[in-house]
C-alpha cells in the first residue's frame, strides 16, 4: 500500500519513472527498518503472539494515517510503458503485465541467489531456524532481523509500486494483496519459493476462471476457499515436507 501510494505521489510530482521507483523502494525499506527499530525490537515480550499483535497495530496506524492525512480515494497510475496493451499469440493484455512478470522473475532469481549462495542469506535462514544457536555462533540477530525487515519493505514496495497501474493506489489496498500472497504460500507450502510461485499461479488461474464462469463478485473469495481446502487435505501445502519443532 505504502509503495503504491508513494509511487503515485512521486509520479504526480512529475518525477521521472525510474527515479521515482528507486525512491519508493528505498523509502519504504527505510520506514520498515524504522518500524523494527522503534517498535518491534522494543516489545516487552517477544513471543510470536505479541509480535503479531504489534504488527497488526502498526498496519492499522499506517493505513489509518494515509487514509486521514491524504485521502481514501483510489488513484489511477499511468502504465510504466508507453503503449497501453500488447498482443501476443492472439491474446491482448495490458503492457504493465510485462513489467509485473519481469519484476517477479528478477525478484525470484535474486532471492534464490541471495538465500542459497550468499553468506548473509544463509545467516538469515539460520536466524530464522534457530535464533539462539545463531546468537551463540556470534551472529547479531537484531541486525539480521533489521535487515530482513528492510528487505521485506523493499520487496513489498516493489510489489505495490508495479501493481498500481493495474489496480489503482488506495489507502487500504495492501490487505488483499497480502492475504492472497499468504494463500499462495499456503497452497504451495511454507518456506518454499517455487511452491509459492506455483501456488500463486494456481490461485490466479482459479480466480480468472471463476470470474469468467461464475461471477466476478466472488473472485476474491476463491483464493481463500482453495487455501482452506488445501489445508484440509495437505496441511503443509502441496510442495512442502513436514517441519519439525525441536524441544
Amino acid at each position: 500500500m505504502l509503495g503504491g501510494m508513494i509511487e503515485f505521489f512521486l509520479l504526480q510530482a512529475s518525477i521521472p519513472l525510474y527515479l521515482s521507483l528507486i525512491i519508493t523502494f528505498f523509502s519504504v525499506s527505510i520506514i520498515a527498518s524504522f518500524i523494527y527499530r522503534v517498535f518491534i525490537a522494543n516489545a516487552k515480550n517477544s513471543s510470536d503472539l505479541s509480535l503479531i499483535i504489534m504488527t497488526v497495530g502498526i498496519a492499522m496506524i499506517l493505513r489509518g494515517s494515509v487514509g486521514v492525512l491524504i485521502d481514501k480515494n483510489a488513484h489511477p497510475v499511468k502504465d510504466f510503458l508507453n503503449f497501453p496493451s500488447v498482443s501476443m499469440f492472439g491474446v491482448s493484455f495490458a503492457s504493465q503485465y510485462i513489467i509485473v512478470i519481469a519484476a517477479t522473475t528478477i525478484l525470484i532469481v535474486s532471492l534464490y541467489f541471495y538465500f542459497s549462495k550468499t553468506f548473509s542469506g544463509k545467516i538469515m535462514q539460520a536466524v530464522a531456524a534457530n535464533p539462539l544457536a545463531a546468537t551463540l555462533f556470534g551472529v547479531d540477530t537484531k541486525k539480521v532481523k533489521l535487515f530482513s525487515f528492510a528487505i521485506s519493505g523493499f520487496v513489498g514496495a516493489m510489489a505495490g509500486a508495479i501493481i498500481v497501474p493495474i489496480s489503482f493506489a488506495q489507502y487500504d489496498s495492501g490487505l488483499m494483496f497480502g492475504l492472497k500472497g499468504f494463500a499462495a504460500s499456503v497452497v504451495g507450502g511454507f518456506g518454499n519459493n517455487t511452491g509459492a510461485l506455483i501456488g500463486g499461479l494456481c490461485i490466479g488461474i482459479a480466480e480468472s476462471l471463476s470470474a469468467g464462469y461464475v461471477s466476478s463478485v466472488y473472485k476474491d473469495a476463491v483464493a481463500f476457499v482453495i487455501m482452506i481446502i488445501i489445508l484440509f487435505i495437505r496441511p503443509h501445502g502441496i510442495f512442502s515436507s513436514k517441519d519439525i519443532e525441536r524441544v
Binding site: D48, I53, F182, A221
Partner: protein, 306 residues
C-alpha cells in the same frame, strides 16, 4: 476476592444503572456494549487463555446476524429459534474452518483468520439477492417472549446484560477448572501440554468453535435489536477492534476485558467526530500495550482484588 463475587457486584451495578439511567442513547449504547462483551469474552477464551489469535471474528458475528435474520425473514421462523439455529450452524462452520486452520502456527493463523473474515464479508456483499449486499438487510422483526416484546432500549439493555453476564459466568467457571488449566498450558508450552495428555489440536478447535458461537449469538441478538444489518458493521476493522479490547483488557482477564469493552465501545460514540482517527488509535493502543503493558488492565485488577 473470588471472581464470582466480583461478577455479582458488577451485576448489581449494571441493574442499578439500568433502572436509573434515563437516556435512551446511553441505554442503547450500553446494550450494544453488552453484545460486544459477548464477542470479546469468547475471543478472550481463544486469544487470552489458549493463545490463538483470530483476526476474523467480525465475520462470525456477521454469520450469526445474517443467518438468524434471514431465517426469521425468509422462513418466518420464530426469532429465538432462528438465533438458536444460526448459532448452531455458525459453530459448525467455525469447527469446519477451525479444524485445518488451527494446525497453523500463530502468524499463519492470524493471516488465515483474517482471510476467513474477508471471505464471509465478500460473500455477503456478493449475494445481493439474498443478503441485500452493501444495501443491507432491513425489516428484521423484534424479539418477544410470551407476549413481552423487547421494543425499548431499557428492556433490551437488561436482556443483553443478562445474557452477557451469564456467558461471562459460564466462561469463568469453565476456566476455573481443569479445562482452564489445560488451555493455559496450551498457551504457554504446547509440547509439554501434549505430553501431559492434553489433545492440543482438539482443545484449540473446541475453544475456537465456542468463541465462534459466542460471536454468532451476539450477531443474532444485534440483528434483532437494531432491525437492520449491513456488511459494513462486520469488517476487518471490527475484527481488530475486538482484538484491541481483549489485549487492552488483558489477555486472560475477564474483568479487564469487561471494562476495556465498555470503555472502548462507548468512546467512539461520544467522540463520533473523530471517527476517522479511531483505527489509528486502535493501532497505537495495540503497539503501546505490547511495548509497555503486555498484561493490559489485568495487573490493575489483580491489584484491586488484593
Amino acid at each position: 476476592m473470588d471472581s464470582r463475587i466480583f461478577l455479582a457486584i458488577i451485576a448489581v451495578i449494571v441493574a442499578v444503572s439500568g433502572i436509573f439511567l434515563n437516556s435512551p442513547f446511553l441505554l442503547s449504547m450500553l446494550a450494544l456494549a453488552a453484545l460486544t462483551l459477548i464477542v470479546t469474552t469468547g475471543l478472550n477464551l481463544l486469544l487470552g487463555f489458549t493463545g490463538q489469535i483470530s483476526l476474523g471474528h467480525a465475520g462470525f458475528v456477521a454469520l450469526g446476524a445474517y443467518m438468524s435474520a434471514l431465517l426469521a425473514i425468509k422462513f418466518s421462523i420464530n426469532p429465538w429459534l432462528s438465533i438458536f439455529i444460526a448459532t448452531i450452524l455458525s459453530s459448525l462452520i467455525g469447527a469446519i474452518i477451525g479444524y485445518p486452520t488451527l494446525k497453523l502456527k500463530s502468524h499463519y493463523l492470524a493471516m488465515a483468520t483474517l482471510a476467513i473474515g474477508e471471505v464471509i464479508n465478500i460473500l455477503i456483499m456478493g449475494t445481493v439477492s439474498i443478503t441485500g449486499g452493501p444495501q443491507g438487510l432491513t425489516a428484521i422483526p423484534m424479539l418477544s417472549i410470551f407476549g413481552f416484546t423487547f421494543d425499548d432500549d431499557r428492556k433490551f439493555y437488561f436482556f443483553a446484560w443478562f445474557t452477557a453476564l451469564s456467558l461471562l459466568l459460564v466462561s469463568i467457571n469453565l476456566t476455573k477448572s481443569r479445562f482452564g488449566r489445560a488451555l493455559q498450558a496450551i498457551k504457554s508450552k504446547e509440547i509439554a501440554a501434549e505430553a501431559f495428555g492434553i489433545n492440543v489440536h482438539m482443545y484449540k478447535v473446541i475453544i475456537f468453535t465456542l468463541s465462534v458461537s459466542y460471536a454468532s449469538l451476539a450477531g443474532g441478538l444485534f440483528a434483532f435489536y437494531i432491525g437492520f444489518i449491513s456488511p459494513f458493521s462486520f469488517g476487518i476493522l471490527n475484527s481488530i477492534e475486538y482484538v484491541v479490547m481483549v489485549v487492552i483488557g488483558g489477555m486472560g482477564s475477564f474483568f479487564g476485558v469487561l471494562f476495556s469493552t465498555i470503555i472502548l465501545s462507548i468512546l467512539p460514540n461520544i467522540f463520533s467526530g473523530l471517527k476517522e482517527f479511531w483505527p489509528i488509535a486502535d493501532g497505537f493502543l495495540l503497539v503501546f500495550a505490547m511495548m509497555f503493558l503486555p498484561d493490559g488492565l489485568k495487573k490493575l485488577f489483580s491489584w484491586i482484588k488484593q
